[in-house]
Homo-oligomer: 345 residues x 2
Amino acid sequence: MPTHGTGRGPGDAAPTIGEVAAAAGVSRATVSRAFGRPQMLRPETVERVQEAARHLGYVPNRVARALSTGRFGNLALVVPDIANPFFPPMIRAVQGRADRAGFAVFLGDADEDPAREEVLLRQLSTQVEGFVLASSRLTDERIRAHAERRPLVLVNRDVEGIPRVLIDTTRAVGQAVEHLHELGHRRIAYLSGPAGSWSNRQRRRAVKRAGDRLGVEVLMVPAGRATFELGRLAVPALLATGATAVVAFDDLVAQGVLAGLSEQGVGVPAGLSVVGCDDVLATRTYPPLTTVSARSAEAGAAAVDLLAGMLTPGTPLADTRLLLDTSLVVRVTTGPPPRGGPRRP
Amino acid sequence: MPTHGTGRGPGDAAPTIGEVAAAAGVSRATVSRAFGRPQMLRPETVERVQEAARHLGYVPNRVARALSTGRFGNLALVVPDIANPFFPPMIRAVQGRADRAGFAVFLGDADEDPAREEVLLRQLSTQVEGFVLASSRLTDERIRAHAERRPLVLVNRDVEGIPRVLIDTTRAVGQAVEHLHELGHRRIAYLSGPAGSWSNRQRRRAVKRAGDRLGVEVLMVPAGRATFELGRLAVPALLATGATAVVAFDDLVAQGVLAGLSEQGVGVPAGLSVVGCDDVLATRTYPPLTTVSARSAEAGAAAVDLLAGMLTPGTPLADTRLLLDTSLVVRVTTGPPPRGGPRRP
DNA sequence: TTGTACGCGTTATCAC
DNA sequence: GTGATAACGCGTACAA
């Protein structure tokens, strides 16, 4: 007799379908149907079973069900960094949407590490019906490999053949550069995010293109992992470029820049204009940050919908590529460049 | 023949233990042992099995294993609100710690709703070995009921008999009131957090007691769910009390207060002193917030350790009550009260 | 409409 | 040291 869990305490007997059957005076099959396909049974039978189940505190064992059907009722969401404020709203949205579709959610934090991400995917794959993979740092090849084993939807990662929802910041970043150009800036910097990030590549390219188009010189400053601290530490390098404005990978980095600038005695936007991205900090920075709207919650919800679609038998597997457009949100960290070029303390 | 998962694409055959056995020319039992208890087997046998498994891309099916052993290798973390920056570090810590102990983590966001929390606990209970329940909004009674079914560790919730780790802000909140008293404040306000929150009750009481002890009048201002927006909206009520300083439920609320104050043209700390709690915003507010250190990551890690202990057979079930002490972090949002009482715009 | 019987992939128990 | 076999709890053809 298996220990059946390591549960402690007295009432440790998780009632099984058999006990309910006995209590209701029917067979186990009938109990199973009372839950899964009530319309197959006579209403009074269903009622009797429900009653017995309620009385015993019976909860269908999802593990057993999964073993039998291959359907788990779980899906996994893997993100590179929960601590980045971009993700919590997405996590919430995924959870809520999954819940309504009858799924429970595994959450994996890959800690910006492809190897760790790989491990998560592998170990979760046996108990999950599908994956939402956000801002994956994996290679296209590896993503394809995983997608072959389990239905998988990408967020902010563009791999052909894999369903994906992309928050397209190209237009908004272009607007940001135009905005700076109009203000009179002619030399700006892009402060990079994580190397493996699709969003980072997209934004970097968008800044560069818009700059080229408008005759604005664009300097690239590397930063790495998207954190407040890295933004703060990048300030000297930033100032060294002689740029009069900076577009940061995201709001977190931009906020770090704001702090670093303040330490250096450089005013914003008087000494340097700053643009963020994702709008996760809204008006909570000081000064309130000009930024690019993001739609992470929507992206999460859309991803779950896509996944749910793939999971529904009979749905053709389309190569979906859902684009979520964004726009510039002008607040107060952008202004005309300082007279006589960038101001150094 | 069951569809066996809804996986698409070709190589849809998740290899089973039987196939590995056949390939290695051994029995299924041997394959099982090669993974679970290698020392029971001759090294060369283990090697042969491993080889075959690797060749086929075999991954032990955790679901099947769980059904057989009653051990899932999963644990669930339930929080009231992922979007509150207090939780992400804790989630991370839980994940990391769980990972090292060989557990995958389910995450549930109860959305501050006891009913939703209840549902999560129920539906997760069949696929999880234990729970970490953070800042639960459930009644003691319900918590006890769940704890009887599955091992469960509480964070920031004090229910006798249930293992719990508590971030004890009593001392630090007391320090905050002393700090304000020394600065000359004699009339302060406490801006409340969620009604069901143990932390909120603890802090409210701590402010009250310290006030009584020092002869500082304490006004209570209700706020509700801990959000930036609610802090912002509470500002008029706050000013109406005539208090010269406010202790907010947490940093998020405090930051909202900062914003609301700024809108009303009240300077900080010149017009009003503000103290936060949890130190999740560090120096990222403007002005940098005087606050109470929290230790959410440590709390999460400790909770997992406790849980892992309970799950280890042979461990006596102790009524653990782990207290994590905190202290005041003075930054710049506190100063002497305005001359001639609180300044109204 | 309801019951019987088998299979899902794994581990534990007992033989060998 | 290794192999057969019975659970684990549930879903579902198939039979009644």
